[in-house]
Symmetry: C2
Subunit: 196 residues, 2 copies
DNA sequence: CAAAAACGGTACGGGACGGTATCGTATCGA
DNA sequence: TCGATACGATACCGTCCCGTACCGTTTTTG
């Protein structure tokens, strides 16, 4: 904003630190990662990190919120199946991402120990769910879904199999699998035959 | 088996060590837990632990296989819905168990770092799935399920929402939720209306 | 009673980590 | 040019941990 006197912070360092922190977190988890390793991977001195963030948890949370900006899909294809397929495939892409996919598995464990990480994780999940609920509302308005469905359960039925396959079974989640899950979901709820 | 000369191992210590190891693992994960903390919680000297297990990973795996004996539900109620409801509720009970529920969240992260833990985890999942597949086969023989269903996907649809709710959303999984998931599953696959 | 093994307690070596501090150099605005 | 700040490198402190070793004591078998 207002660069005071003195040498300004290097944006290359900012990005290198964020990337390295996320990679280290994905590899070793919060307690297992080390700030020294982040500094080494980023090609940066440890003092450069602690000049930006007062502690390790602030570093990780800041890095996570940077990637959150790049996410947030808002699909509106005009039909329920299209909306669900695109949003489900985008979730599958996150899981297949080498860093983010492992990060998801780590945060599930770390959230029980670090309230800051738990809060961040809850925010991500809530953001994703609100997109799903919005798609449900549009489908209800179109008559594609009955208006009294349990949207909480419905969202679980959509996302659950993907997370289960990625985190528990540790198998790849491809687009075909995402479509199969969506079609199973539509078999439960859809009031009109979905076009495919 | 054949107690040679000398003082025999204390079975109370065996059990105390297993319980303490599982609790510490559930609290802090494999890399975060410490053998000293296990010894203190078990009221046992650290030498008593290392006399039994050559390393920390052997301790944890041995403790995990002890609880595995107590699991392994084999429901056969004579009807598909009964089988699925009982096995799904038993999974929900595992998640609600204060130690095992947290253990499940930890092992998802630790399996990426420790092949021994990954192998153990995979064995547990496979054991559970085989019970589900057996229930599917019985249902197919009865005509309750079409014989050509994708059993892998079907098992994911059943277990996925429970794991998602427990691990990602961090909400309790009660029996009513388990039944809702089973009924949604039956709405997809069941060839005859399920009795409820 | 004697040998053998387990036990609690303790100490140690070797290493890793978070966070702080310091030093000389580099890069900005005025 | 000068003051102010960032940077890399390094050292440091206090803490923790795995695994081993040793002590004296206790419990079992023969």
């Amino acid at each position: 904003m207002k660069p005071g006197p003195g040498r300004p912070r290097s944006v290359e360092c900012d990005r290198a630190i964020h990337d390295a922190a996320l990679t280290e977190y994905a590899d070793r988890g919060f307690d297992g990662m080390s700030v020294d390793a982040v500094a080494a991977r980023a090609g940066v001195s440890k003092a450069t990190i602690y000049r930006r963030y007062p502690s390790k948890v602030d570093l990780v949370i800041s890095a996570a919120y940077v990637v959150a900006e790049e996410l947030a899909p808002k699909p509106d294809t005009g039909a329920l199946r299209g909306d669900l397929v695109t949003s489900t495939k985008s979730l599958a892409n996150l899981m297949n991402h080498s860093v983010l996919g492992r990060t998801m598995r780590q945060v599930v464990a770390d959230a029980g120990r670090h309230p800051d990480l738990a809060e961040m994780h809850e925010g991500f999940v809530k953001m994703r769910r609100q997109g799903t609920f919005a798609a449900f509302d549009r489908a209800i308005a179109r008559g594609e879904l009955p208006p009294d469905i349990d949207q909480e359960l419905a969202a679980d039925l959509l996302a659950g199999p993907l997370f289960y396959r990625h985190m528990v079974r540790r198998l790849p989640v491809d687009d075909a699998y995402a479509e199969q899950v969506v079609d199973a979901f539509l078999a439960v709820y859809a009031t009109v035959p979905s076009t495919r």
